[in-house]
Amino acid sequence: MACHALSLFHIPSILILGVLYMAYVLIGGVIFWKLEGGLVRQDIARLLEKKNQLLNTYSCLNQEGLDALVIQDSSKVGLSLKGNQTMDSFWKFTSSAVFAATVVTTIGYGNMSPSTMAGQIFCVFFALFGIPLNMVVLNRVGKYMLKKTNHRLTRFMVHLLSYVSGVALFFVMPMMVFKQHEGWTYSQAIYYCFISLSTIGFGDYVAGMYSNPEQSYPDWYSVLMASWIFFGLAWLALVINHTIDILERVNIYLKHWWSPKEPDTESGEEIKDPPVDV
């Protein structure tokens, strides 16, 4: 019967998916290992060389004193040890707002993070309510953006239009702005845009964080950045939904092609649960 045919075909689908996923992560790991491993060894060697050079030149320097100074946490709190320059505090209001936004959107750069226990506990509760709130808001905004475009144009045009305009608005334009104001190269800027909007958020590049001490930011900068992140995320939600839409159509098409006699009772199914008792 149809059920049996379906179950035979679909029971291993989750296994296949799982295996594919593991393979994907493994392959990625190997590739990163190959790409990055060599570079790091070079960097370490160079740095050690510099350190030894310093220790040799200045004989009054002793090992412990120097090590004590190279405190790992200082870069975390954004302290500048260069000369007499004082960087603006990391935790002033605007940057705290950016931090709150990165927590709630789950980007989580990590260049700033709460170091006090109270801060950490608050962070947990803040995220507990903020993340669902963020999801709800993005959902509604995305729905609106979808509604506006759904009237006369065909589905395909909607997809195409949203892809193209979004890429221009949320990748190309910010790339220009960041190149201008952050002093990054084009590739660094695009990398940053992608890592932020996908909510991966490594934090190796963060806009508005004085990566170059000579840069000064106009006042509207942080507002612009915040709105870029917000609308970019909403747009991305739209794009992913459209992609899933397309994938579903492809899936239905493939299923029809695979078993054309199959009565397609439930349209729009993709990952089917096995139609047997679990």
Partner: protein
């Protein structure tokens, strides 16, 4: 007839506008308040650290013959390298940040969008590859997680709720609420408390609270990166440890999605989603019937109908919750 429907549409249109604006305003206020609290808590600590470091530097320069500029240059390079996880301190081991296990770990943090940032690609090739890898990997991960959760829902949610209803004769709303409370408790115990205990034992510098904080930040995919397991130079069985953390992260993410989905279902039944005009858990109104229907043969089939939604957009976090 048409005027009434028009009126209804208009009023629901207004309501939807107002709701949207309300949500956005609330969201902004929430962010502002959070910013205020963070600022108040963290700023004094930061100021103290600042003055301490300055004093340390002064003391160092006074004691030694090093001049300020060469020290500054050195420090700049070192701090830059530090950001990429490279340390020149004597007790840092020879183990790389990019050996196979760590690279695997990195790839995993990339596709789950946790993104700790304790190691980041340094080369341009690495960066470009990360982008393309994530472009495919992130949706793929979501797919896998959703597929797993859809199946798990049978085992963990629909099954027990059905049992609850039939054995104890509870009405659907109470059954789902009770089930959700139990599920939440089990998940918190199993994926926060127990792992936190384990982490605080393995990691020397982490307290129990730090470990809980780490678990939460990771499982929400925020991934600040201030705590990353397996980074101690003296870590034994480092590769095995990192891989187990990877597995924990994946399973934990799955459970979070499951809890979210169960919560969504419960909110559905209690009319919360309708109240806030949020998308329902399932599109058909009849899908709520399986919990209402008493017949046991229909149970599983209707559960199937209810859950065989293609990658129900509402089930994913953060991105798609746009109802078609």
């Amino acid at each position: 007839m048409t005027i009434n429907t028009l009126k209804r549409e208009m009023s629901s249109g207004y309501k939807s506008w107002i709701l949207l604006t309300g949500f956005i305003l609330f969201y902004i206020t929430y962010l502002m308040l959070g910013a205020l609290v963070f600022s108040t808590i963290e700023r004094p600590v930061e100021d103290t650290l600042k003055t301490d470091i300055k004093a340390l530097k002064e003391e160092f320069l006074n004691q030694s013959c090093v001049n300020a500029t060469s020290l500054d240059n050195f420090l700049e390079r070192v701090l830059q390298a530090n950001k990429y996880g490279i340390s020149v301190l004597p007790n840092s081991s020879a183990s790389s940040n990019w050996d196979l296990a760590s690279s695997l770990f990195f790839a995993n943090t990339l596709v789950t969008t946790v993104g700790y940032g304790h190691t980041t690609p340094l080369s341009d090739t690495g960066k470009a590859f990360s982008i393309f890898y994530a472009l495919v990997g992130v949706p793929f991960t979501m797919l896998v997680l959703t597929a797993c959760v859809q199946r798990l829902m049978h085992l963990v949610t629909y099954g027990p709720i059905g049992v609850c209803r039939r054995r104890m004769g509870l009405d659907p709303r109470t059954a789902t609420a009770v089930h959700f409370a139990v599920l939440l408790l089990l998940v918190v115990l199993g994926f926060f408390v127990v792992p936190a205990v384990v982490f605080s034992q393995i990691e020397d510098t982490w307290s129990f609270l730090d470990a809980v904080y780490f678990c939460f930040i990771s499982l929400c995919t925020i991934g600040l990166g201030d705590y990353v397991p397996g980074e101690q130079p003296s870590q034994r069985f480092r590769a095995l440890y990192k891989i187990s953390v990877m597995v924990y992260l994946f399973l934990g993410l799955m459970m979070m999605y499951l809890v979210l989905r169960s919560f969504h279902r419960m909110a559905d039944l209690h009319g919360l989603t309708a109240f806030f005009q949020l998308p329902h858990c399932d599109e058909d109104a009849e899908d709520r019937e399986p919990i209402v229907k008493a017949g046991s043969e229909d149970q599983n089939e209707n559960d199937l109908n209810a859950s065989a939604k293609p990658l129900d957009p509402t089930s994913k976090s953060s991105y798609n919750a746009i109802q078609r």
